[in-house]
Amino acid sequence: MKPGPRHDGLLFRALPDSRIAHVAVGLGGVPYLTMPNCLMLHGDVDGAVKTAYQEWWHRAPGFPARAKRVINACANADEYASALHDLDAAMTPQVPVFNHPRAVVLARRDMAGAVLNGIPGIEVPRTLRFSADRPQDMMRAFQTGQFAYPVTVEPCTLRNGQGRVRVDHPMDWQRAMRARQVGRHHLMVQARADDARFPWRIRMTLLGQEGAVEMYRAAGTGTASDLPPALSRQDLTRLFQMLRRRLPLDFWTLDLALRGPTHLVLTEVNPGLIAVDPTSAEGDLRAATQRNIERLLPALARVLMTPAHWRHDAWTLRPLAEPVARDAG
């Protein structure tokens, strides 16, 4: 199952706008880099992709302008803003793009909230994206967004609760302000006082026409005897269909807090395989992630090798050259 000559395929990768990456040393003494928030290809999938696509790093010499199919590995609108912008500008509607940059930008947490709002059974908390360069920016965002206590604040480029600070009352702003990352955008999300009573999360993964659901417990919540509310297969099928219609990504995940069999609260949206990176999660989420990897890898290989089946409707979204959102702060 090979989609075409290798030189026609482009695996588009980029350095983060921050130019900061993770580095580790393998047991063989070889340091290796891991780019944050990007599509991660594991094992056989990685091998298959590399035989059918040539990897090209954004801003490296020799842009393969004649690429006939593109896998976009940049999976965060804040981390890779410039690369996504340039890829969108360089491509034409005739070229299939896996996880099109316009759709990746649409998956930005604040924008995804608007896109997914109104789906029966899914509650989308009020969300505001803002820059927190000045200490007073947080309070300003709180007022601008007409939030009420409690709220959570986190940098847009972190996932799975990393860097998240919960502000329950005015005395907590100091803690949030200390944790802020100047020069980076943040998200303020409306929380609820009784969030801790609902420890169960579901991670829904949408890949082409397939979908998977894994349950996990949010870090530090719940007890071993907790049982999650049951979701019916019909409800899930209906949800997958609606989600797919709303967000034209080929591969993405969303995390939802489970408050009841038909009451889900959106907590996170991530394009790409980043959501099944086992090193990025702890505890329950890590195990759920590993199950997702095993379940979806064969399907991912199939989807990546079938450009004709990729979502083409992302082309109807607004080009990234146009302003896509007005930030607060």
């Binding site: 900061i20 990456a21 580790a24 003494g29 780019m35 790093w57 000045r134």
Partner: protein
């Protein structure tokens, strides 16, 4: 700040298990597990190594035959091989704290180490300022380390340490002026609070004016190799910030640089101060940046550590003048360093002056809030 792309040789697998005869080049990743990345000439991402010892270009291939490269991240997880000697490539106690502590605890008292980790720890700006505070002939501004995670933290550090305006505030691990803010008065703290480095460990340093009577600011870089002193360069600017990329940096300064270098070498007070600095640091190789006003005999310490950029890749097609400059400012220090590296018996840790590296309390506990215990 030394800063270089990771050479190809460092990216390959460890080439062989230690024979025991070869020394070790000890390297590590930053404690944060994060590095700045760039694309190399082939368009592939490479990490930028910061705050590590950079050797003279001419010795690098020979160095690879003399040593095996050992990553802290690998070495610390397995059996500890016997090592005859170690070149510690890590030059910043903030950036590589975990690796330096481990190196000291594991080999510090038993194996000769070039740039011993305890000496590197002492080169942290705030500790260095204390150690060098009373060196005759050298003005050493006070320096405090703190976590800059609230507006109050900056002002409290200022008040608690008896600073006076203006002060210089910079994030730890940063050199070459990146993130440097000059705070002229109470209204300027916002410059530090609204910086991308907010929340990180910072240094606050008393600003001491080092301008000359001619209205020029001069900065000299001095290199210490095994106690010997070499003037590496002198730069001039029309303002207090003297860096390669400073807007006010003065060009056409080559002849004056030669004159000033000679004047420094002939200045007995300066030479005595340098000798004392070299003795106190305990580093085998390091650099010192110092503001100079030779006519008035004022020398103001900026920093002194092993993370200085001293040796650069030789450019092709250099002019005779550039070659002459190389011979004057670079080659002597490079030759001295090459010879010293090959002579572990001459390293500071083996000398009487270096007994504190082999004995006594272990690596100083450098706490997050900057205290040294």
């Amino acid at each position: 700040m030394t800063r270089a792309k990771l050479p190809r040789a460092l990216k390959g697998p460890v080439r062989r298990v230690l024979s025991g005869a070869k020394g070790a080049a000890f390297v590590a990743l930053p404690d944060t597990g994060e590095v700045e990345v760039t694309l190399d000439d082939t368009g592939q991402p490479v990490p930028m190594v910061t705050n590590q010892l950079i050797l003279p270009h001419g010795i690098r291939s020979e160095f690879q035959t003399l040593t095996d490269r050992h990553w802290f991240e690998v070495l610390s997880k397995g059996p500890r091989p016997p090592l005859p000697w170690i070149i510690n490539m890590l030059a910043d106690a903030d950036e590589y704290h975990a690796a330096l502590v481990w190196l000291d605890a594991t080999y510090g008292a038993t194996v000769p180490i070039f740039n011993h980790p305890r000496a590197v720890a002492r080169s942290r700006r705030d500790i260095s300022a204390r150690i060098l505070a009373d060196v005759p002939g050298l003005i050493t501004p006070r320096c405090a380390r703190f976590i800059g995670d609230s507006p109050a933290a900056f002002e409290r550090t200022f008040a608690d340490n008896g600073f006076a305006y203006p002060v210089l505030v910079r994030p730890c691990r940063s050199q070459t002026g990146r993130g440097l803010v000059r705070v002229e008065g109470p209204g300027d703290w916002v410059l530090a609070v609204e910086s991308p480095d907010f929340g990180l460990a910072h240094y606050m340093t008393q600003f001491v004016d080092f301008g000359t009577a001619d209205g020029v600011w001069l900065k000299a870089r001095v290199v210490f190799v095994g106690g010997r002193v070499f003037v590496r360069h002198i730069k001039a600017a029309a303002g207090w910030l003297v860096h390669n990329h400073s807007q006010g940096r003065l060009g056409g300064f080559d002849d004056e640089e030669l004159r000033l270098a000679a004047a420094l070498n002939d200045n007995a007070a300066f030479c005595a101060a340098c000798a004392e600095v070299a003795r106190r640091t305990g580093l085998d190789f390091c650099g010192m940046d110092v503001g100079i006003d030779v006519d008035r005999g004022r020398f103001v310490l900026f920093e002194c550590n092993a993370a200085m950029s001293v040796f650069f890749v030789d450019r092709p097609n250099r002019t005779p003048a550039q070659l002459a400059r190389q011979a004057l400012f670079v080659t002597p220090a490079a030759d001295a360093l090459t010879a010293l590296i090959k002579t572990p018996a001459a390293w500071a840790c083996a000398s009487d002056n270096g007994a504190w590296m082999r004995e006594g309390p272990s690596f100083p506990a450098l706490t997050a809030d900057g205290a040294v215990t």
